[in-house]
């Protein structure tokens, strides 16, 4: 049962992921990206990471993709013109990507430590959000505060970048 769900969501994610690359119009790419992220969120839930799954839907499928769609609308981008295929680039790209895939599959398949089943979580002790929050606010307290500063800097930077003329 779990394997069936795993394959359904993986194929959903990878199928819409390839649609991002192969569809010509940026709007279709953005919508496929949303579906791909939803499949990924389902995989997170399958891995018992409920909090991360919900964050994935809220931040990526919600905020980030709305931002992408706004920019596509703002710039009024048309579908990519059909240019003549840049053959060396496609061959080079295919070789690099094929090499990466082959290397990853070889490494993962050769490592016996990766062919393990999910260990069972102990009874009555699974409270995902509390555990993530506790780790975040104790072990990773300083990085958490630095992330807050990063978000502030990003906000200020975006405002300055979007001003009419950059002095």
């Amino acid at each position: 049962m779990e394997l069936v769900l795993f394959w359904i969501f993986s194929i959903l994610m990878l199928g819409f992921g390839s649609a991002v690359i192969f569809l010509r119009s940026p709007v279709s790419s953005a919508m496929s990206l949303v579906m791909s992220f939803l499949g990924l969120a389902a995989l997170f839930v399958l891995l018992d990471a409920y909090f991360i799954g919900i964050i994935q839907v809220l931040v990526y499928a919600g905020a980030v993709m709305v931002l992408f769609l706004f920019i596509i609308m703002l710039l009024d981008i048309k579908a990519e013109r059909r240019r003549r295929l840049n053959t060396p680039a496609w061959i080079g790209g295919g070789l690099v990507v094929g090499g990466v895939v082959a290397m990853l599959v070889k490494v993962v398949m050769d490592q016996p430590a990766f062919h393990v089943m999910k260990p069972e979580i102990g009874d009555g002790m699974f409270d995902d959000v509390r555990q993530v929050g506790e780790t975040l606010f104790t072990t990773y307290n300083l990085p958490f505060q630095i992330i807050g500063v990063l978000l502030l800097v990003a906000t200020v930077g975006v405002v300055i970048l979007s001003k009419k003329e950059i002095k």
């Binding site: 997170f44 062919h115 990003a154």
Partner: protein
């Protein structure tokens, strides 16, 4: 029969290669940016898989350090998207294009 760690790692690797292929082959700077997001999310998937398949030492709970790292990656990615899209808008204002082959003033 349940999926093993290798299943998740290979799916994550395939998603990463899809993102890499998009960055190498697409010419629209916005689509290249979307493919960067795909690659970041592939890294997230493998982190969550490792976190679930390895318990915290001395407990029977998933290793939440990995999930906290995913939380940080998502935050940084959101900031990165905001800044990157602002740069793309500024670029479009001065050059009226989002096509990377038209942006060749630094080409050697």
């Amino acid at each position: 029969m349940a999926p093993t760690l290798a299943h998740y790692l290979i799916v994550s690797g395939l998603l990463f290669s899809l993102g890499l292929a998009g960055v190498l082959l697409r010419r629209n700077i916005l689509v290249i940016f979307m493919c960067l997001e795909l690659m970041l999310n592939a890294a997230n998937l493998s982190l969550v898989a490792f976190s679930r398949f390895n318990f915290l030492p001395g407990t029977q709970l998933p290793n939440y350090n990995g999930q906290v790292l995913v939380f940080f990656i998502i935050t940084v990615a959101a900031a990165e998207v905001a800044v990157g899209l602002a740069i793309i808008v500024a670029l479009y204002r001065t050059r009226q294009t989002t096509h990377v082959e038209d942006l060749n003033s630094m080409k050697f």
